[in-house]
Amino acid sequence: MARTGTTFDVGIVDDHPVVIDGVRAWLAEEPSVRVGHTGDTTADLRSHTVDVLIVDLNLNGRLVLSDIGELAAEGRRLVVFSQSTDESLVMDVLDMGVAGFVTKSEGQAHLLHAVRAAAADRPYVPPTTAGVLVSDRNPVAPQLSPQERTSLLWWFQSMSKASVARRMGVSVHTVDMYIKRARVKYAQVGRAAPTKTDMLARAIEDGLVTPAELADSAEWTPSA
Protein backbone atom coordinates (compact mmCIF):
# COMPACT_ATOMS: atom_id res chain seq x y z
CA MET A 1 0.00 0.00 0.00
CA ALA A 2 0.94 3.63 -0.25
CA ARG A 3 3.58 4.40 2.31
CA THR A 4 5.91 7.07 1.15
CA GLY A 5 5.77 9.75 -1.45
CA THR A 6 3.40 8.13 -3.92
CA THR A 7 -0.25 9.02 -4.24
CA PHE A 8 -2.86 7.30 -2.14
CA ASP A 9 -6.60 6.80 -2.32
CA VAL A 10 -8.92 8.32 0.25
CA GLY A 11 -12.56 7.47 0.89
CA ILE A 12 -14.98 9.90 2.50
CA VAL A 13 -18.05 8.62 4.33
CA ASP A 14 -20.39 11.28 5.69
CA ASP A 15 -24.14 11.71 5.60
CA HIS A 16 -23.91 15.39 4.68
CA PRO A 17 -22.99 16.07 1.03
CA VAL A 18 -21.67 19.48 2.03
CA VAL A 19 -19.11 17.83 4.31
CA ILE A 20 -18.04 15.43 1.53
CA ASP A 21 -17.64 18.34 -0.88
CA GLY A 22 -15.80 20.38 1.72
CA VAL A 23 -13.40 17.59 2.62
CA ARG A 24 -12.86 16.86 -1.09
CA ALA A 25 -11.97 20.53 -1.62
CA TRP A 26 -9.56 20.44 1.36
CA LEU A 27 -7.93 17.26 0.09
CA ALA A 28 -7.52 18.80 -3.39
CA GLU A 29 -4.73 20.91 -1.91
CA GLU A 30 -2.78 17.75 -1.20
CA PRO A 31 -1.31 16.51 -4.50
CA SER A 32 -0.64 13.00 -3.26
CA VAL A 33 -4.28 12.37 -2.36
CA ARG A 34 -6.86 10.94 -4.74
CA VAL A 35 -10.47 10.65 -3.58
CA GLY A 36 -11.43 7.12 -4.52
CA HIS A 37 -14.80 6.75 -2.89
CA THR A 38 -17.52 8.82 -1.30
CA GLY A 39 -20.72 7.66 0.35
CA ASP A 40 -23.05 8.10 3.26
CA THR A 41 -22.85 4.59 4.67
CA THR A 42 -20.22 2.12 5.83
CA ALA A 43 -22.17 -0.77 4.28
CA ASP A 44 -20.82 -0.78 0.70
CA LEU A 45 -17.16 -0.40 1.57
CA ARG A 46 -16.13 -4.00 1.02
CA SER A 47 -15.70 -3.53 -2.75
CA HIS A 48 -13.75 -0.29 -2.42
CA THR A 49 -10.11 -0.46 -1.59
CA VAL A 50 -8.94 2.93 -0.40
CA ASP A 51 -5.81 3.58 1.60
CA VAL A 52 -7.40 5.86 4.16
CA LEU A 53 -11.05 6.22 5.01
CA ILE A 54 -12.37 9.45 6.50
CA VAL A 55 -15.54 8.54 8.31
CA ASP A 56 -18.14 10.37 10.40
CA LEU A 57 -19.21 8.77 13.69
CA ASN A 58 -22.84 9.61 13.23
CA LEU A 59 -24.34 8.44 9.94
CA ASN A 60 -28.03 9.07 9.24
CA GLY A 61 -28.80 9.43 12.92
CA ARG A 62 -26.93 6.27 13.93
CA LEU A 63 -23.70 6.04 15.92
CA VAL A 64 -21.61 3.69 13.77
CA LEU A 65 -19.06 2.75 16.43
CA SER A 66 -19.40 -1.00 15.88
CA ASP A 67 -18.99 -0.63 12.09
CA ILE A 68 -15.87 1.41 12.71
CA GLY A 69 -14.59 -1.26 15.09
CA GLU A 70 -15.10 -3.94 12.42
CA LEU A 71 -13.37 -1.88 9.74
CA ALA A 72 -10.41 -1.25 12.05
CA ALA A 73 -10.23 -4.95 12.91
CA GLU A 74 -10.04 -5.68 9.17
CA GLY A 75 -6.97 -3.49 9.03
CA ARG A 76 -8.55 -0.45 7.38
CA ARG A 77 -6.79 2.84 8.07
CA LEU A 78 -9.45 5.14 9.47
CA VAL A 79 -9.59 8.78 10.37
CA VAL A 80 -12.73 9.67 12.28
CA PHE A 81 -13.96 13.14 11.40
CA SER A 82 -16.69 14.00 13.83
CA GLN A 83 -18.55 16.86 15.42
CA SER A 84 -18.21 15.17 18.79
CA THR A 85 -15.52 16.12 21.29
CA ASP A 86 -16.70 13.65 23.90
CA GLU A 87 -13.68 12.19 25.69
CA SER A 88 -15.00 8.66 26.14
CA LEU A 89 -15.91 8.54 22.46
CA VAL A 90 -12.43 9.66 21.45
CA MET A 91 -10.86 7.03 23.73
CA ASP A 92 -13.17 4.28 22.44
CA VAL A 93 -12.41 5.09 18.83
CA LEU A 94 -8.63 5.16 19.42
CA ASP A 95 -8.89 1.92 21.37
CA MET A 96 -10.50 0.25 18.36
CA GLY A 97 -7.41 0.97 16.31
CA VAL A 98 -8.56 4.08 14.47
CA ALA A 99 -5.53 6.08 13.31
CA GLY A 100 -6.84 9.50 14.25
CA PHE A 101 -9.77 11.44 15.61
CA VAL A 102 -10.20 14.91 14.16
CA THR A 103 -13.08 17.06 15.36
CA LYS A 104 -14.90 19.06 12.72
CA SER A 105 -14.04 22.28 14.54
CA GLU A 106 -10.32 21.51 14.24
CA GLY A 107 -10.47 22.00 10.49
CA GLN A 108 -8.45 21.45 7.36
CA ALA A 109 -4.84 21.45 8.51
CA HIS A 110 -5.42 18.88 11.23
CA LEU A 111 -7.48 16.66 8.94
CA LEU A 112 -4.79 16.74 6.24
CA HIS A 113 -2.08 15.97 8.78
CA ALA A 114 -4.14 13.10 10.17
CA VAL A 115 -4.87 11.62 6.71
CA ARG A 116 -1.25 11.86 5.62
CA ALA A 117 -0.08 10.31 8.87
CA ALA A 118 -2.65 7.52 8.66
CA ALA A 119 -1.59 6.64 5.11
CA ALA A 120 1.95 6.16 6.35
CA ASP A 121 0.94 4.37 9.58
CA ARG A 122 2.37 7.30 11.50
CA PRO A 123 0.72 8.88 14.54
CA TYR A 124 -0.86 12.31 14.44
CA VAL A 125 -2.48 13.85 17.49
CA PRO A 126 -4.76 16.86 17.00
CA PRO A 127 -5.18 19.14 20.06
CA THR A 128 -8.54 17.69 21.14
CA THR A 129 -7.11 14.16 21.19
CA ALA A 130 -4.13 15.49 23.16
CA GLY A 131 -6.51 16.90 25.79
CA VAL A 132 -8.34 13.60 26.01
CA LEU A 133 -5.14 11.58 26.32
CA VAL A 134 -3.59 13.77 29.02
CA SER A 135 -6.75 13.70 31.16
CA ASP A 136 -7.16 9.94 30.75
CA ARG A 137 -7.43 8.36 34.22
CA ASN A 138 -8.11 4.82 33.08
CA PRO A 139 -6.13 2.35 35.22
CA VAL A 140 -4.93 0.60 32.06
CA ALA A 141 -3.63 3.86 30.56
CA PRO A 142 0.02 3.70 29.53
CA GLN A 143 2.57 5.58 31.61
CA LEU A 144 3.61 8.81 29.92
CA SER A 145 6.82 10.66 30.71
CA PRO A 146 6.52 14.17 32.27
CA GLN A 147 7.64 15.70 28.95
CA GLU A 148 5.07 13.73 27.04
CA ARG A 149 2.35 14.83 29.46
CA THR A 150 3.42 18.46 29.32
CA SER A 151 3.60 18.41 25.53
CA LEU A 152 0.12 16.91 25.25
CA LEU A 153 -1.34 19.35 27.79
CA TRP A 154 0.23 22.46 26.30
CA TRP A 155 -0.51 21.39 22.73
CA PHE A 156 -4.15 21.02 23.79
CA GLN A 157 -4.11 24.43 25.51
CA SER A 158 -2.36 26.52 22.92
CA MET A 159 -2.91 24.62 19.65
CA SER A 160 0.54 25.88 18.65
CA LYS A 161 3.51 23.52 18.72
CA ALA A 162 5.81 26.48 18.19
CA SER A 163 4.52 28.11 21.37
CA VAL A 164 4.79 24.85 23.27
CA ALA A 165 8.37 24.47 22.07
CA ARG A 166 9.25 27.99 23.20
CA ARG A 167 7.58 27.44 26.53
CA MET A 168 9.36 24.12 27.08
CA GLY A 169 12.64 25.45 25.77
CA VAL A 170 13.02 22.70 23.19
CA SER A 171 12.61 22.48 19.40
CA VAL A 172 9.28 22.03 17.66
CA HIS A 173 10.57 18.70 16.41
CA THR A 174 11.15 17.54 19.99
CA VAL A 175 7.65 18.60 21.04
CA ASP A 176 6.26 16.72 18.06
CA MET A 177 8.26 13.67 19.04
CA TYR A 178 6.96 13.72 22.62
CA ILE A 179 3.40 13.92 21.35
CA LYS A 180 3.90 11.11 18.85
CA ARG A 181 5.54 8.91 21.44
CA ALA A 182 2.59 9.41 23.78
CA ARG A 183 0.26 8.39 20.97
CA VAL A 184 2.35 5.34 20.12
CA LYS A 185 2.19 4.22 23.74
CA TYR A 186 -1.57 4.28 23.44
CA ALA A 187 -1.35 2.04 20.36
CA GLN A 188 0.03 -0.63 22.69
CA VAL A 189 -2.90 -0.83 25.07
CA GLY A 190 -6.48 -2.03 24.77
CA ARG A 191 -7.70 -4.33 22.07
CA ALA A 192 -5.33 -5.53 19.37
CA ALA A 193 -5.77 -4.15 15.84
CA PRO A 194 -3.66 -4.53 12.70
CA THR A 195 -3.46 -0.73 12.38
CA LYS A 196 -1.99 -0.49 15.87
CA THR A 197 0.63 -3.10 15.05
CA ASP A 198 1.47 -1.21 11.85
CA MET A 199 1.82 2.04 13.77
CA LEU A 200 4.10 0.43 16.37
CA ALA A 201 6.23 -1.18 13.68
CA ARG A 202 6.50 2.13 11.87
CA ALA A 203 7.39 3.97 15.08
CA ILE A 204 10.27 1.56 15.67
CA GLU A 205 11.31 1.85 12.04
CA ASP A 206 11.32 5.67 12.31
CA GLY A 207 13.37 5.50 15.50
CA LEU A 208 10.57 7.20 17.45
CA VAL A 209 10.70 4.45 20.05
CA THR A 210 12.82 1.38 20.59
CA PRO A 211 11.29 -2.03 21.21
CA ALA A 212 12.83 -1.90 24.69
CA GLU A 213 11.10 1.41 25.47
CA LEU A 214 7.79 -0.01 24.35
CA ALA A 215 8.30 -2.96 26.64
CA ASP A 216 9.22 -0.59 29.49
CA SER A 217 6.18 1.59 29.10
CA ALA A 218 4.02 -1.52 29.11
CA GLU A 219 5.50 -2.46 32.46
CA TRP A 220 3.40 0.03 34.33
CA THR A 221 1.23 -2.83 35.59
CA PRO A 222 2.15 -3.12 39.28
CA SER A 223 2.81 -6.81 39.23
CA ALA A 224 5.20 -6.49 42.16
Partner: protein, 391 residues
Protein backbone atom coordinates in the same frame (compact mmCIF):
# COMPACT_ATOMS: atom_id res chain seq x y z
CA UNK B 1 -38.48 -7.66 77.75
CA UNK B 2 -38.33 -6.27 74.28
CA UNK B 3 -35.37 -3.96 73.70
CA UNK B 4 -36.16 -0.29 73.40
CA UNK B 5 -35.21 0.45 69.86
CA UNK B 6 -34.75 4.02 68.79
CA UNK B 7 -32.75 3.60 65.61
CA UNK B 8 -35.77 4.01 63.40
CA UNK B 9 -33.98 6.44 61.16
CA UNK B 10 -36.30 9.17 62.39
CA UNK B 11 -34.86 12.44 63.69
CA UNK B 12 -33.75 12.48 67.33
CA UNK B 13 -36.92 14.17 68.57
CA UNK B 14 -39.11 11.68 66.76
CA UNK B 15 -37.17 8.82 68.38
CA UNK B 16 -38.03 10.19 71.84
CA UNK B 17 -41.76 10.02 71.10
CA UNK B 18 -41.42 6.53 69.63
CA UNK B 19 -39.55 5.40 72.74
CA UNK B 20 -42.22 6.83 75.07
CA UNK B 21 -44.93 4.92 73.23
CA UNK B 22 -42.87 1.77 73.37
CA UNK B 23 -42.20 1.98 77.10
CA UNK B 24 -45.92 2.44 77.78
CA UNK B 25 -46.69 -0.61 75.62
CA UNK B 26 -44.15 -2.72 77.49
CA UNK B 27 -45.61 -1.63 80.85
CA UNK B 28 -49.13 -2.59 79.74
CA UNK B 29 -47.98 -5.96 78.39
CA UNK B 30 -46.27 -6.74 81.71
CA UNK B 31 -49.25 -5.62 83.80
CA UNK B 32 -51.68 -7.76 81.78
CA UNK B 33 -49.37 -10.79 81.77
CA UNK B 34 -48.84 -10.65 85.55
CA UNK B 35 -52.53 -10.12 86.10
CA UNK B 36 -53.80 -12.90 83.89
CA UNK B 37 -51.15 -15.58 84.38
CA UNK B 38 -50.56 -14.74 88.03
CA UNK B 39 -53.67 -13.46 89.76
CA UNK B 40 -56.31 -15.12 87.51
CA UNK B 41 -54.55 -18.50 87.56
CA UNK B 42 -54.26 -18.41 91.33
CA UNK B 43 -57.97 -17.67 91.87
CA UNK B 44 -58.96 -20.26 89.28
CA UNK B 45 -56.92 -22.99 90.97
CA UNK B 46 -57.94 -22.03 94.47
CA UNK B 47 -61.68 -21.95 93.72
CA UNK B 48 -61.64 -24.66 91.04
CA UNK B 49 -64.42 -26.73 92.64
CA UNK B 50 -66.83 -23.80 92.92
CA UNK B 51 -67.19 -22.87 89.25
CA UNK B 52 -70.27 -24.31 87.48
CA UNK B 53 -69.05 -25.82 85.24
CA UNK B 54 -65.31 -25.59 85.87
CA UNK B 55 -64.30 -26.49 82.32
CA UNK B 56 -66.07 -23.39 80.94
CA UNK B 57 -64.06 -21.24 83.39
CA UNK B 58 -60.91 -22.97 82.20
CA UNK B 59 -61.88 -22.54 78.53
CA UNK B 60 -62.45 -18.80 79.10
CA UNK B 61 -59.09 -18.57 80.79
CA UNK B 62 -57.44 -20.32 77.83
CA UNK B 63 -59.20 -18.12 75.24
CA UNK B 64 -58.13 -15.04 77.18
CA UNK B 65 -54.57 -16.36 77.33
CA UNK B 66 -54.46 -16.70 73.55
CA UNK B 67 -55.96 -13.22 73.05
CA UNK B 68 -53.46 -11.83 75.52
CA UNK B 69 -50.45 -13.37 73.76
CA UNK B 70 -51.60 -12.28 70.30
CA UNK B 71 -52.51 -8.81 71.58
CA UNK B 72 -49.14 -8.34 73.35
CA UNK B 73 -47.11 -9.30 70.29
CA UNK B 74 -49.19 -7.05 68.06
CA UNK B 75 -48.96 -4.11 70.48
CA UNK B 76 -45.16 -4.35 70.67
CA UNK B 77 -45.03 -4.41 66.88
CA UNK B 78 -47.44 -1.47 66.62
CA UNK B 79 -49.98 -3.73 64.90
CA UNK B 80 -53.04 -2.84 66.95
CA UNK B 81 -54.13 0.33 65.18
CA UNK B 82 -56.54 -1.47 62.82
CA UNK B 83 -59.80 -3.38 63.05
CA UNK B 84 -58.12 -6.38 64.66
CA UNK B 85 -58.05 -4.59 68.06
CA UNK B 86 -61.84 -4.28 68.54
CA UNK B 87 -62.24 -7.82 67.17
CA UNK B 88 -59.86 -9.28 69.75
CA UNK B 89 -61.56 -7.16 72.44
CA UNK B 90 -64.93 -8.69 71.50
CA UNK B 91 -63.48 -12.19 71.80
CA UNK B 92 -62.05 -11.27 75.23
CA UNK B 93 -65.42 -9.83 76.27
CA UNK B 94 -67.31 -13.00 75.22
CA UNK B 95 -64.80 -15.17 77.08
CA UNK B 96 -65.32 -12.88 80.10
CA UNK B 97 -69.11 -13.26 79.87
CA UNK B 98 -68.69 -17.04 79.75
CA UNK B 99 -66.40 -16.95 82.80
CA UNK B 100 -68.80 -14.73 84.79
CA UNK B 101 -71.62 -17.20 83.95
CA UNK B 102 -69.72 -19.95 85.81
CA UNK B 103 -69.68 -18.03 89.12
CA UNK B 104 -72.05 -19.44 91.74
CA UNK B 105 -74.93 -17.12 92.76
CA UNK B 106 -73.97 -13.90 94.56
CA UNK B 107 -70.26 -14.26 93.80
CA UNK B 108 -70.03 -11.77 90.89
CA UNK B 109 -68.06 -9.57 93.26
CA UNK B 110 -66.05 -11.64 95.62
CA UNK B 111 -63.19 -14.05 96.24
CA UNK B 112 -63.75 -16.20 93.18
CA UNK B 113 -64.56 -13.50 90.55
CA UNK B 114 -61.72 -12.65 88.19
CA UNK B 115 -62.97 -12.09 84.63
CA UNK B 116 -64.43 -8.57 84.71
CA UNK B 117 -61.22 -6.91 85.86
CA UNK B 118 -59.14 -9.01 83.43
CA UNK B 119 -61.28 -8.07 80.44
CA UNK B 120 -60.86 -4.44 81.48
CA UNK B 121 -57.05 -4.74 81.40
CA UNK B 122 -57.33 -6.52 78.07
CA UNK B 123 -59.24 -3.46 76.87
CA UNK B 124 -56.30 -1.29 77.95
CA UNK B 125 -53.88 -3.54 76.10
CA UNK B 126 -55.90 -3.93 72.91
CA UNK B 127 -57.58 -0.53 72.57
CA UNK B 128 -54.91 1.85 73.83
CA UNK B 129 -54.09 3.03 70.34
CA UNK B 130 -57.73 3.08 69.20
CA UNK B 131 -60.32 5.84 69.66
CA UNK B 132 -61.16 6.41 73.33
CA UNK B 133 -64.85 5.55 72.92
CA UNK B 134 -64.04 1.90 72.15
CA UNK B 135 -62.27 1.47 75.49
CA UNK B 136 -65.05 3.31 77.35
CA UNK B 137 -67.60 0.97 75.70
CA UNK B 138 -65.64 -2.13 76.68
CA UNK B 139 -65.19 -0.97 80.27
CA UNK B 140 -68.93 -0.22 80.44
CA UNK B 141 -69.56 -3.77 79.20
CA UNK B 142 -67.39 -5.22 82.00
CA UNK B 143 -69.35 -3.25 84.60
CA UNK B 144 -72.65 -4.29 82.95
CA UNK B 145 -71.47 -7.90 82.96
CA UNK B 146 -70.99 -7.85 86.75
CA UNK B 147 -74.22 -5.89 87.28
CA UNK B 148 -76.26 -8.38 85.21
CA UNK B 149 -74.68 -11.32 87.04
CA UNK B 150 -75.65 -9.71 90.38
CA UNK B 151 -79.16 -9.02 89.06
CA UNK B 152 -79.64 -12.58 87.88
CA UNK B 153 -78.67 -13.97 91.30
CA UNK B 154 -81.05 -11.48 92.90
CA UNK B 155 -78.47 -9.58 94.90
CA UNK B 156 -79.13 -6.08 93.57
CA UNK B 157 -81.85 -5.20 96.06
CA UNK B 158 -79.50 -4.36 98.91
CA UNK B 159 -77.68 -1.01 99.10
CA UNK B 160 -74.59 -2.87 100.30
CA UNK B 161 -74.32 -4.71 96.97
CA UNK B 162 -74.72 -1.46 95.07
CA UNK B 163 -72.00 0.25 97.04
CA UNK B 164 -69.72 -2.77 96.51
CA UNK B 165 -70.46 -2.63 92.80
CA UNK B 166 -69.61 1.07 92.65
CA UNK B 167 -66.42 0.61 94.69
CA UNK B 168 -65.41 -2.35 92.54
CA UNK B 169 -66.03 -0.39 89.30
CA UNK B 170 -63.97 2.54 90.58
CA UNK B 171 -60.99 0.37 91.49
CA UNK B 172 -61.01 -1.62 88.26
CA UNK B 173 -62.52 0.22 85.26
CA UNK B 174 -61.71 3.60 86.84
CA UNK B 175 -58.03 2.80 87.23
CA UNK B 176 -57.84 1.30 83.77
CA UNK B 177 -59.41 4.38 82.22
CA UNK B 178 -57.11 6.66 84.21
CA UNK B 179 -54.10 4.62 83.10
CA UNK B 180 -54.98 5.00 79.42
CA UNK B 181 -55.72 8.72 79.79
CA UNK B 182 -52.36 9.21 81.46
CA UNK B 183 -50.52 7.19 78.82
CA UNK B 184 -52.14 9.20 76.05
CA UNK B 185 -51.26 12.43 77.80
CA UNK B 186 -47.62 11.32 78.16
CA UNK B 187 -47.44 10.37 74.52
CA UNK B 188 -48.99 13.68 73.53
CA UNK B 189 -46.46 15.55 75.66
CA UNK B 190 -43.61 13.63 74.06
CA UNK B 191 -44.88 14.55 70.61
CA UNK B 192 -45.18 18.19 71.60
CA UNK B 193 -41.59 18.14 72.87
CA UNK B 194 -40.47 16.50 69.67
CA UNK B 195 -42.24 19.13 67.62
CA UNK B 196 -40.75 21.94 69.69
CA UNK B 197 -37.24 20.48 69.37
CA UNK B 198 -37.62 20.15 65.60
CA UNK B 199 -38.96 23.67 65.27
CA UNK B 200 -36.00 24.98 67.27
CA UNK B 201 -33.52 23.07 65.10
CA UNK B 202 -35.23 24.49 62.00
CA UNK B 203 -35.03 28.00 63.41
CA UNK B 204 -31.33 27.59 64.17
CA UNK B 205 -30.58 26.20 60.72
CA UNK B 206 -32.49 29.05 59.13
CA UNK B 207 -30.62 31.55 61.24
CA UNK B 208 -27.27 30.03 60.28
CA UNK B 209 -28.24 30.16 56.62
CA UNK B 210 -29.35 33.76 56.96
CA UNK B 211 -26.11 34.68 58.67
CA UNK B 212 -24.09 32.98 55.92
CA UNK B 213 -26.14 34.83 53.33
CA UNK B 214 -25.59 38.07 55.16
CA UNK B 215 -21.82 37.53 55.32
CA UNK B 216 -21.81 36.70 51.61
CA UNK B 217 -23.84 39.81 50.85
CA UNK B 218 -21.46 41.93 52.88
CA UNK B 219 -18.48 40.42 51.06
CA UNK B 220 -20.04 41.32 47.72
CA UNK B 221 -20.95 44.76 48.93
CA UNK B 222 -17.38 45.33 50.19
CA UNK B 223 -16.11 44.23 46.82
CA UNK B 224 -18.38 46.61 44.96
CA UNK B 225 -17.42 49.47 47.28
CA UNK B 226 -13.67 48.84 47.02
CA UNK B 227 -13.30 47.98 43.35
CA UNK B 228 -16.18 49.29 41.33
CA UNK B 229 -17.27 52.43 43.17
CA UNK B 230 -13.94 54.26 42.55
CA UNK B 231 -14.10 53.41 38.86
CA UNK B 232 -17.65 54.72 38.58
CA UNK B 233 -16.76 57.82 40.64
CA UNK B 234 -13.86 58.64 38.34
CA UNK B 235 -16.07 58.20 35.29
CA UNK B 236 -18.85 60.33 36.80
CA UNK B 237 -16.51 63.14 37.81
CA UNK B 238 -14.69 63.16 34.52
CA UNK B 239 -11.38 62.03 35.96
CA UNK B 240 -11.56 58.90 33.80
CA UNK B 241 -12.60 58.86 30.16
CA UNK B 242 -14.61 56.04 28.59
CA UNK B 243 -12.52 56.28 25.42
CA UNK B 244 -9.33 55.58 27.32
CA UNK B 245 -7.89 52.08 26.73
CA UNK B 246 -6.94 51.65 30.38
CA UNK B 247 -10.40 52.62 31.56
CA UNK B 248 -11.97 50.29 29.02
CA UNK B 249 -9.79 47.44 30.13
CA UNK B 250 -10.41 48.10 33.84
CA UNK B 251 -14.13 48.20 33.13
CA UNK B 252 -13.93 44.92 31.22
CA UNK B 253 -12.05 43.31 34.10
CA UNK B 254 -14.43 44.59 36.77
CA UNK B 255 -17.44 43.53 34.68
CA UNK B 256 -15.99 40.02 34.47
CA UNK B 257 -15.20 40.01 38.19
CA UNK B 258 -18.75 41.07 38.96
CA UNK B 259 -20.12 38.31 36.77
CA UNK B 260 -17.88 35.79 38.53
CA UNK B 261 -19.02 37.14 41.91
CA UNK B 262 -22.63 36.45 40.95
CA UNK B 263 -21.73 33.04 39.53
CA UNK B 264 -20.08 32.06 42.83
CA UNK B 265 -23.39 32.18 44.66
CA UNK B 266 -25.31 30.30 42.00
CA UNK B 267 -25.98 26.63 42.39
CA UNK B 268 -24.14 24.69 39.69
CA UNK B 269 -22.98 21.09 39.26
CA UNK B 270 -19.40 22.22 38.58
CA UNK B 271 -18.91 25.64 40.17
CA UNK B 272 -15.42 26.07 38.65
CA UNK B 273 -16.70 25.53 35.10
CA UNK B 274 -19.73 27.65 35.87
CA UNK B 275 -17.59 30.56 37.02
CA UNK B 276 -15.19 30.22 34.08
CA UNK B 277 -18.15 30.17 31.70
CA UNK B 278 -19.45 33.30 33.38
CA UNK B 279 -16.08 34.98 32.68
CA UNK B 280 -16.16 33.70 29.09
CA UNK B 281 -19.71 34.96 28.77
CA UNK B 282 -18.65 38.54 29.52
CA UNK B 283 -15.88 38.30 26.91
CA UNK B 284 -18.37 36.93 24.38
CA UNK B 285 -20.56 39.96 24.95
CA UNK B 286 -17.61 42.03 23.81
CA UNK B 287 -17.68 39.97 20.58
CA UNK B 288 -14.71 37.85 21.56
CA UNK B 289 -14.98 34.39 20.01
CA UNK B 290 -14.48 32.03 22.96
CA UNK B 291 -14.04 28.26 22.75
CA UNK B 292 -14.37 26.36 25.98
CA UNK B 293 -13.24 22.75 26.44
CA UNK B 294 -12.98 20.71 29.62
CA UNK B 295 -11.52 17.21 29.89
CA UNK B 296 -11.33 15.00 32.95
CA UNK B 297 -13.50 14.65 36.01
CA UNK B 298 -13.57 17.70 38.27
CA UNK B 299 -13.20 17.17 42.02
CA UNK B 300 -14.75 19.54 44.56
CA UNK B 301 -12.82 22.79 44.50
CA UNK B 302 -13.16 25.19 47.48
CA UNK B 303 -14.40 28.68 46.66
CA UNK B 304 -11.08 30.34 47.64
CA UNK B 305 -9.18 28.05 45.27
CA UNK B 306 -11.75 28.66 42.55
CA UNK B 307 -11.24 32.39 42.91
CA UNK B 308 -7.48 31.89 42.65
CA UNK B 309 -7.85 29.54 39.67
CA UNK B 310 -10.19 31.87 37.82
CA UNK B 311 -8.41 35.17 38.55
CA UNK B 312 -5.75 34.75 35.86
CA UNK B 313 -8.14 33.40 33.22
CA UNK B 314 -10.50 36.25 34.08
CA UNK B 315 -7.84 38.88 33.37
CA UNK B 316 -6.71 37.10 30.22
CA UNK B 317 -10.29 36.88 28.97
CA UNK B 318 -10.85 40.54 29.75
CA UNK B 319 -7.76 41.33 27.67
CA UNK B 320 -8.74 39.20 24.67
CA UNK B 321 -9.35 41.19 21.51
CA UNK B 322 -11.16 38.84 19.14
CA UNK B 323 -10.65 35.27 20.22
CA UNK B 324 -9.84 33.17 23.26
CA UNK B 325 -9.52 29.48 24.00
CA UNK B 326 -10.36 28.36 27.54
CA UNK B 327 -9.36 24.84 28.53
CA UNK B 328 -9.69 22.92 31.76
CA UNK B 329 -7.80 19.65 32.12
CA UNK B 330 -8.10 17.47 35.18
CA UNK B 331 -5.40 14.86 35.58
CA UNK B 332 -4.74 12.51 38.48
CA UNK B 333 -2.73 15.12 40.37
CA UNK B 334 -3.92 18.55 39.35
CA UNK B 335 -6.30 20.87 37.62
CA UNK B 336 -4.89 23.05 34.84
CA UNK B 337 -6.95 25.99 33.66
CA UNK B 338 -5.63 27.82 30.64
CA UNK B 339 -6.58 30.76 28.49
CA UNK B 340 -4.97 31.51 25.17
CA UNK B 341 -6.05 34.87 23.77
CA UNK B 342 -5.04 37.38 21.14
CA UNK B 343 -4.27 40.10 23.66
CA UNK B 344 -1.73 42.86 23.34
CA UNK B 345 1.71 42.36 24.81
CA UNK B 346 1.11 45.13 27.32
CA UNK B 347 -1.59 43.10 29.02
CA UNK B 348 0.74 40.26 29.97
CA UNK B 349 2.85 41.78 32.76
CA UNK B 350 -0.20 43.19 34.47
CA UNK B 351 -1.75 39.79 34.91
CA UNK B 352 -1.79 38.78 38.55
CA UNK B 353 0.87 36.23 39.24
CA UNK B 354 -0.87 34.32 41.96
CA UNK B 355 0.46 30.98 43.16
CA UNK B 356 0.36 28.35 40.45
CA UNK B 357 -0.24 30.84 37.63
CA UNK B 358 2.23 31.31 34.82
CA UNK B 359 1.94 33.66 31.88
CA UNK B 360 3.64 33.62 28.55
CA UNK B 361 3.39 36.15 25.80
CA UNK B 362 4.41 34.63 22.52
CA UNK B 363 5.42 37.61 20.41
CA UNK B 364 5.90 35.59 17.25
CA UNK B 365 2.32 34.40 17.29
CA UNK B 366 0.96 37.42 19.15
CA UNK B 367 -0.52 35.11 21.67
CA UNK B 368 -1.19 35.62 25.37
CA UNK B 369 -1.07 32.25 27.04
CA UNK B 370 -1.94 31.94 30.71
CA UNK B 371 -2.08 28.81 32.78
CA UNK B 372 -3.22 28.34 36.39
CA UNK B 373 -2.68 25.05 38.12
CA UNK B 374 -3.95 23.66 41.38
CA UNK B 375 -2.62 20.40 42.83
CA UNK B 376 -5.63 18.35 43.89
CA UNK B 377 -4.98 17.37 47.52
CA UNK B 378 -5.22 14.05 49.32
CA UNK B 379 -7.95 11.66 48.28
CA UNK B 380 -6.98 11.79 44.63
CA UNK B 381 -3.67 10.09 45.19
CA UNK B 382 -5.19 7.49 47.49
CA UNK B 383 -7.86 6.73 44.93
CA UNK B 384 -5.15 6.32 42.33
CA UNK B 385 -3.27 3.89 44.54
CA UNK B 386 -6.42 1.96 45.32
CA UNK B 387 -7.08 1.59 41.60
CA UNK B 388 -3.60 0.27 41.21
CA UNK B 389 -4.05 -2.38 43.86
CA UNK B 390 -7.02 -3.76 41.97
CA UNK B 391 -4.69 -4.94 39.23
Amino acid sequence: MAPLRSDTGAPAGEAVAVRYAHVISVVVVVIVAVWHFGYDSLILVRSWSRYEPAWVALASWLVLSVVQLVGSVLLLRSGLRGRLAPLLSSVALLAGVAAVATYPGGEAIGDISWAANTVGWFGVLLLMQRPMRELVALLACTIAMTTVALGVSGDLDTPVTWSRLIAQSYTTAGIQLAFVLLARELHHAARLTTGAARAQADRMARRAAEEARHVERRRRYRYLRDRIAPLLHDLAEGRAHPGDDTVQRSSAIEATRLRRLFAETEDAAHPLLHELRACADVAERRDVNVTFVCYGELPDVPVAVRRQLTEGPLLALASAKTSARVTVVVTAGEIAVSVVADASASAAPRLVRSAGTSVLFDEKENLLWLESRWPVPGPRSTSASSTTTRW
